[in-house]
Assembly symmetry: C2
């Protein structure tokens, strides 16, 4: 894409009403736009990053055998009454409104109940199990405070997956595969080394299976205790003698760190399906409740955590896997310099042909402004084309993450970008 066509503009000043680094940078670089506290719109660059993250998540969900759906945002009161979660006393996060005829409607802050209700129509026997479904949905949550940029929003995109199994054994088999899939996702987006599976409520040590995925991050709202060998982390709530004893670990070997929850998975068991009258017929002809699990990743939050961690004082530093473009082609000098323009156009066309996504800064601006914008936007590889590079017969390549600059030939450039 030509940057002269990109409608968003960067800005130098930090938005006055924004204290979170992720939102400050994403707004300044033109990735998102703030509607009001906790509500952001996705602009072209932001949407590209979001879609890259979604694709990574979707691929792992599909490998698990999950099928994609999209449930509605408008929700039916009666479905939530079956599990006694309509009442604001029971779930204090609802946005609600009314149809013209006075009927109450809710706006989806979660979808366990509607999805489970829908699945009832399609599952009757053990032949129909197990089943896994997922969606990428806008969740609307009436949060009292929203202060961490896109890490805690009143509106955000969540990937939620649900598993329906015949019993706990079948469930646990899938549950463990889901943990692996989640870890693959964090690895692919570049957070592998910083992300821990933590048990949230007794977890693996008790009969309640529920885990969080926590990424070490200064802007995180949680505290986790990380063992010095790096293999174990424990949530603050269960960092106690009993947990340590179960693990056979010593308290002094753990260090407290700030962390952001980037995923959570739950074993619901059969309770919710019993409440919702969701039973199946087993091999012996007996009626049994379906065994439910749920698996969430806040996709926009994940984008926020990535922005927090992969950024410096100059701006964002995207990894190739999630970057809005692979290459930022910066053309320097007067746009009337037709030889430079022609060379930039040639490289742009060639890279596109090679399947490499390029943002071409073809604007009539000074080098300093272009470089500042390039650092702020944070595309991993910057290639400069100028009369100087033209004379040398090479391209100037800068790695955004390391800052390393090298002069490379056209052939070297292609092999560089292939890796």
């Amino acid at each position: 894409m030509k940057q002269s066509q990109l409608f968003t503009k960067t800005r130098k000043e930090v938005p006055a009403d924004e204290s979170a680094k992720n939102a400050q940078l994403l707004i300044r670089a033109g990735f998102i736009s703030k509607e009001f506290a906790g509500v952001y719109s996705m602009l072209p660059l932001g949407l590209r990053v979001l879609n890259n993250i979604k694709n990574i998540v979707a691929e792992e969900m599909e490998r698990l055998g999950s099928q994609e759906i999209i449930m509605s945002t408008l929700q039916n009161k009666e479905v939530w009454e079956m599990t006694d979660r309509w009442d604001d006393e029971k779930a204090d996060i609802w946005f609600k409104s009314k149809l013209k005829n006075g009927t109450d409607v809710g706006f989806g802050w979660s979808h366990e109940e509607p999805i489970t209700n829908m699945m009832r129509a399609h599952i009757a026997s053990y032949h129909d199990l197990p089943r896994y479904v997922h969606q990428f949905q806008n969740k609307l949550r009436n949060e009292t405070r929203a202060k961490s940029g896109i890490m805690r929003c009143r509106e955000f995109i969540m990937k939620d997956m649900y598993s329906y199994c015949i019993d706990e054994a079948e469930h646990m088999d899938f549950y463990n595969k889901a943990i692996e899939a989640y870890l693959n996702i964090y690895r692919k987006v570049g957070l592998g080394d910083l992300t821990y599976v933590t048990s949230a409520s007794g977890g693996v040590f008790t009969d309640k299976f529920s885990h969080e995925f926590q990424t070490i991050c200064e802007a995180g709202e949680d505290i986790i205790y990380v063992h010095k060998d790096g293999t174990v982390a424990i949530n603050e709530e269960i960092f106690n003698e009993e947990t340590l004893q179960n693990l056979g670990k010593k308290k002094e070997d753990f260090e407290a760190k700030k962390a952001a929850e980037v995923g959570n998975i739950f074993t619901f068991g059969t309770g919710k399906c019993e409440q919702m009258d969701f039973f199946f017929t087993d091999k012996e002809g007996n009626k049994k409740p379906v065994f439910l699990g749920s698996y969430g990743i806040g996709v926009t939050r994940l984008m926020g955590v990535i922005a927090e961690i992969f950024s410096d004082d100059k701006g964002l530093v995207w990894s190739r896997a999630v970057a809005p473009f692979a290459v930022h082609l910066v053309e320097l000098g007067s746009v009337e310099d037709t030889t430079v323009r022609a060379e930039a156009q040639k490289l742009y066309d060639e890279l596109l042909t090679e399947g490499i996504e390029v943002l071409w800064d073809d604007r009539d601006l000074r080098a300093g402004e272009k470089f500042a914008d390039s650092d702020l936007i944070g595309i991993p590889t910057r290639i400069v084309v100028s009369s100087k590079t033209l004379a040398s017969g090479t391209f100037e390549v800068k790695d955004r993450a390391t800052g390393e600059v090298s002069m490379v030939s056209r052939a070297e450039l292609s092999s560089m970008l292939k890796n």
Copy 2:
């Protein structure tokens, strides 16, 4: 995909609470699920069709030079007060709620105001114009009645595009290109012959430019008058002497037909931008209001219209362009028949390698049930593999639309599917 893995089941009985053919068929075939009147969720088959339609629309928008964004569903009262459209008296379709601190919030039924407000931050001079942006957004509308299945919903997906131009001439140039893009879309989804551009409010005959795209459809809520030569259609509201005189046509040459609105485009002019204090600096340094246009397609409605028109008494009849799968591979006979199973598996693998999307009915069911499901789901090409076809060394191919059956060799099959 193996049909044994697809979680949705078809049903024979027509849903009692559903009078619209599109919803009846889409529910029976497992494409959608009803939450309540006017609110549907998209199941795997439905989501595949929806994504195919979205891709067709997206491609045409990108060709126009439009950039994709996603605005939030939660909306800011103050932005809508700028144009006096927050009040329920002025816009009677709002869903509204309140934040915990009492602040009013609206749920997006349209996005002209929030998008225009956002664009203000990025456009200052004539250098920054024209700009075109679009999104695929869930719209929430508090409709009094919802009765046409997914053709008129309280929640639906709309592609809305907005154009920001320096003046009317630049606007009209884009507006006319948008008409062509829209016609391309209807052609690609198979509705080309049935869809007319109609002027909605005097339109081309006056200074107010606003057009609708109307598809002849028995389930439509509108009436249009189509000229016997098929080149002109006129909306009911302006089918009068003045319009006829402007066109130089005779009243008796027109026939009234029921039609569904599948798109609409508006010339807003500079009024809304003036209300929202959205000005730019022109070449001469003068401050001028931006010239606005908007361009909508109800994507889920379009899917409903396609389902209404392309269906028969046996079920849905998708065109290749929007079908959830290109091929329905129906394996007949006992699943213990390993030669048939192996042949089906081989064909399935080969077609996938050729890039053809296949739903493989590998279920242990009678032929009659499989054929009924296949007709109901409506995938364009059905291929039967059985001991009979195996013996003949050919495959039985049925065209869902024409009902034509032919026995073809493996080589013929591939060339058939390439077209």
